[in-house]
Symmetry: C2
Subunit: 119 residues, 2 copies
DNA sequence: GTGTGACCCCTTGCGTTACAAGGGGAAGGT
DNA sequence: ACCTTCCCCTTGTAACGCAAGGGGTCACAC
């Protein structure tokens, strides 16, 4: 599904959600980078096309923070691939951040829905 | 309500929503900067405390882009205050950005709610 | 065999922007 | 005299998404 779909265009929207999406993609089993980007593209219905120049630095950051671990392996296509897996800390971090993200977006959504001046 | 409420702690969450909130606060009538920050604090139930070092540069950026206009005036407390008002372009920008923000957060929320591996 | 495209990894440089940490000044109350 | 609230502003600093590069392997078509 590598269609030429328009990408996000607005880095500020994406900011901070990439870690969330990456960690979420690793919830069930280790994935290599390419598979992570495919997962994200799929679950967002193609509305989020993750650039490689974004993905790999993000993965490295998460590894440095101890939220993911990596191991070289072989992909389904018999290619050299680095598999990332969620650590226990990463799982906790994902839960906490997802919760605070939800809370924050809810607050903003409520603010944007306000209809009377200065409630 | 200037209670010492813990602030956002995570710039990445806020990223990109500040413009939205600021513009939204100006929907009904011109406000000066201080009032904008109060509005945001109120409608987010104190969960978002806008720093002045964030607010004013943001207002200047929006003015430079033509989304708001400013005019010196007097506050309710008879103090010198710069009132910002939404321009027509600003109103359109707010609508568009709010829509794309909603779409994006919905996509992410859906992704974070996924329960089966690789749907 | 020589593309061509999918698969897979990576880095550098740039621009944007939230925040901390400073600054100043005027009004009102104690 | 002093403090608090109200109001405005600027200068770092750090983070990070992205564009634009890099490289290598495999399968299939021509």
């Amino acid at each position: 599904m590598t269609a030429t779909i328009p990408m996000t265009q607005n880095p500020n929207l994406v900011r901070g959600t990439l870690d969330l999406l990456i960690l979420k993609s690793l919830t069930w089993e280790p994935l290599h980078g390419y598979a992570v980007s495919e997962w994200i593209e799929n679950v967002t219905d193609g509305s989020l096309l993750m650039e490689e120049g974004t993905l790999y630095p993000a993965l490295h950051r998460l590894a440095e923070k101890g939220f993911v671990e990596s191991e070289w392996g072989l992909s389904e296509n018999n290619r050299r691939a680095k598999y990332y897996s969620l650590t226990r800390e990463g799982r906790g971090y994902l839960e906490r951040e997802a919760a605070s993200w939800a809370a924050y977006t809810n607050a903003v959504a409520k603010a944007l829905a306000v209809e009377s001046p200065i409630p």
